[in-house]
C-alpha cells in the first residue's frame, strides 16, 4: 500500500495559481505515481494508464485557476483520475484490456525467484478478482488498499459520503474474499 497522502506540499497551490512554471512541474513530479497508479489498477493497461494520467495533469493544468482549494491537491487529482477512468471504462469503443497488465508489475524488484514463483498463481487470481469487481467498488478498493487513502479522503475524492465509502469497500472486499477463498 502506498504511504499516506498527507498535506499538500507547502506553498505549491499558491505558486500554481500564480502561474509559476516550475510549480506545475513539481505537481506532476509529486503526484505522477499516484495518478498513474490508480489509472493502471482501474484500466489494466500501461499504455491506457499513461494516456489517462497525462490527461489528468493536462486538465489540472487548465483548471488550476478555477480550483478553489476546497479539497487538497492530492484528492483533487485523484478525483479527476477517478472520473476519467470511470468514463473510459464506460465508453463503448474501449478495447477490453480486462486488467491483464494491472498487476503485472506487482513483484518488487528484490523479490527472489522462489517467492516470485509462489506468488505467480496468487497474483493471477488476485488480478482476475480485482478486475472482476464492479467498477465503483474496484475504485474504492484501489483508493483504499492500494493507494492508501483514508475513508475521508476517498469521500472527498469521489464526492460521496464516508458511509458509502465504507459500504462499497466492504462489498468489494467480501467479493474478493469469496473469489480468493482457496488462497486466503
Amino acid at each position: 500500500m502506498r504511504e499516506a497522502l498527507g498535506a499538500d506540499p507547502p506553498g505549491l497551490l499558491e505558486r500554481l495559481r500564480g502561474g509559476d512554471a516550475r510549480a506545475f512541474e513539481e505537481l506532476v513530479i509529486a503526484y505522477q505515481h499516484r495518478v498513474y497508479g490508480v489509472a493502471l489498477r482501474m484500466l489494466g493497461s500501461r499504455a491506457e494508464a499513461e494516456e489517462i494520467a497525462q490527461e489528468v495533469f493536462l486538465r489540472a493544468y487548465r483548471a488550476i485557476g478555477a480550483f478553489r482549494g476546497e479539497a487538497r491537491l492530492g484528492t483533487w487529482l485523484y478525483g479527476i483520475a477517478s472520473r476519467l477512468c470511470l468514463n473510459r471504462l464506460a465508453s463503448p469503443d474501449r478495447r477490453l484490456a480486462r486488467g491483464d497488465e494491472a498487476l503485472a508489475d506487482v513483484a518488487a524488484p528484490t523479490a527472489d525467484a522462489a517467492s516470485a514463483a509462489e506468488r505467480a498463481e496468487l497474483d493471477a487470481a488476485l488480478r482476475a478478482a480485482i478486475a472482476g469487481l464492479p467498477e465503483e467498488r474496484r475504485l474504492v478498493l484501489v483508493l483504499r488498499d492500494v493507494e492508501g487513502l483514508s475513508y475521508e479522503e476517498i469521500a472527498e475524492t469521489l464526492a460521496i459520503d464516508p458511509g458509502t465509502v465504507r459500504s462499497r469497500l466492504h462489498r468489494a472486499r467480501l467479493q474478493l474474499k469469496e473469489k480468493l477463498e482457496r488462497f486466503a
Binding site: R34, G37, E50, F57, L58, V146, E147, Y151, A184
Partner: protein, 342 residues
C-alpha cells in the same frame, strides 16, 4: 449481535474505523462464535493480499511528456532548456552557440534546398561564405532566447560547421585532442569544467549518424568553411569556446538514451548518500558515469551490472527512502540515474 451484523463490521475493523460501541459488540460476538472468527481471519488475509500490491510507478519520462503536452512552447526554446539544464557550468554564450550550431545542422539536413545551396557555393572563399549560414540559422536564432549572444553570422557559420561534418569525433569518446584542432589544449580546461556532462555523454553516445551519412556535397563546403573558420579564429573570435564541446554537445542532448532505471533517494545527508551510492556501484562491479544538477538536486548517474541490481537496490534502500522507475531492458549493464535529495 447476529453473525451477519458481525461480518458487516469486518471491513471497518480492518481499517480501524469502528466506533468503541461497535468494537465492543463485535468482540463479544467473536468470543463465542468460532465460525465468525474463521471468517474474520480469511477476510483479514484477503485485505492483506490487496495491500501487499506494490504501488505503481509512472514510467520514466512521464513528467517530460506531460510538460511537453502542457506547454507547447516553440521547440527551439524547449530544446534550449533541455540542453542548458544539464550543463549549469557552461557559459551562456557557449551554450547559445551550441544551440545555434545544432539547429543549423538539423535544418541543413532537413532541407534539401539548403544542401542544394551549399553544393553551388563551393569555392568562393571568404566573405561570400557566411551567407548560407545566414539563411540556415535564423529560424533557430530568432526563436532562441539566447541566440542574441551569438555575436555575428561568422560565428554562427563557424559553429555550424564544427558540428556538421565532425567526422567520427574523437573528443566524443576519448579526451585525446582531435587532430584538426590546434587549440584543444586550451579548451581542454573547459572540457574538464564541463566534465560531468561530457563524461556521461561519453558513456552513452555512439558517434552520431550525421557524421557518417553526411552527403558528399558537404565535402566541398567543408573545405570552404575550414578557411573561414581559420579566418574567423584569426579575427580573434574565440572559436575554442565552442569547438570541443560541440562535439558532444547538442547531439548528445538529443540522442542520449534515457536511463534504464530512474530513482529518487531521500537522505538527510545528500552528499554522503551520493558518495555511498558511488561506492556501492563500484563495489558491485559498476561505477559512476556522470553527475548533474537537475532542479537544484544532484543526479548521480551510475552503471550497475544487471546481476548485482537487486543487491544495489537493497543497499541503496538502506541509505534512505528510495523510489524507483524501471524500463524493461536486457542490457547486462544497467544505467541508473539517482536523484538525491534531503
Amino acid at each position: 449481535m447476529t453473525c451477519t451484523e458481525t461480518r458487516d463490521l469486518f471491513s471497518a475493523l480492518a481499517d480501524d474505523a469502528l466506533t468503541p460501541g461497535e468494537r465492543a459488540a463485535l468482540d463479544a460476538h467473536l468470543a463465542g462464535c468460532a465460525e465468525c472468527r474463521r471468517e474474520l481471519a480469511a477476510f483479514g488475509r484477503t485485505v492483506a493480499l490487496v495491500r501487499a500490491i506494490d504501488p505503481a510507478h509512472a514510467p520514466a519520462g512521464f513528467v517530460d511528456r506531460v510538460l511537453a503536452a502542457a506547454r507547447p512552447e516553440p521547440w527551439p526554446r524547449w530544446l534550449a532548456r533541455r540542453l542548458s539544464t544539464p550543463w549549469p557550468t557552461l557559459p551562456l554564450g557557449a551554450a547559445a552557440l551550441l544551440l545555434v550550431a545544432g539547429l543549423a545542422v538539423l535544418l541543413f539536413r532537413a532541407w534539401p534546398e539548403q544542401q542544394q545551396t551549399a553544393r553551388y557555393q563551393s569555392p568562393p572563399p571568404g566573405p561570400a561564405a557566411p551567407a548560407p549560414s545566414r539563411e540556415t540559422a535564423p529560424s533557430g536564432a530568432s526563436d532562441s532566447p539566447q541566440a542574441d549572444t551569438s555575436r555575428d553570422a561568422g560565428a554562427t557559420a563557424t559553429a555550424t560547421r564544427e558540428v556538421a561534418p565532425a567526422a567520427p569525433p574523437p573528443a566524443a569518446r576519448a579526451p585525446e585532442p582531435p587532430a584538426r584542432l590546434g587549440d584543444v589544449a586550451e579548451s581542454k580546461n573547459r572540457l574538464e569544467q564541463a566534465a560531468p556532462a561530457t563524461k556521461s555523454a561519453e558513456t552513452n553516445v555512439e558517434p552520431t549518424a550525421p557524421a557518417r551519412d553526411a552527403p558528399p556535397a558537404l565535402e566541398g563546403r567543408r573545405a570552404n568553411v575550414d578557411s573561414i573558420a581559420t579566418d574567423t579564429a584569426k579575427a580573434g573570435r574565440s572559436r575554442q569556446d565552442v569547438a570541443p564541446l560541440s562535439r558532444t554537445g547538442p547531439m548528445t542532448g538529443i540522442l542520449a538514451a534515457p536511463p534504464d532505471v530512474t530513482a529518487q533517494l531521500r537522505a538527510a545527508d545528500a552528499s554522503a548518500a551520493e558518495r555511498s551510492l558511488i561506492e556501492l556501484a563500484g563495489r558491485l562491479g559498476g561505477g559512476q558515469t556522470g553527475r548533474r544538477i537537475d532542479g537544484g538536486r544532484v543526479v548521480v548517474e551510475l552503471a550497475v551490472p544487471r546481476e548485482a541490481y537487486a543487491q544495489f537496490v537493497r543497499e541503496a534502500t538502506a541509505l534512505g527512502p528510495l523510489s524507483i522507475e524501471q524500463q524493461a531492458t536486457d542490457r547486462p549493464l544497467l544505467s541508473v540515474a539517482v536523484t538525491v535529495s534531503n
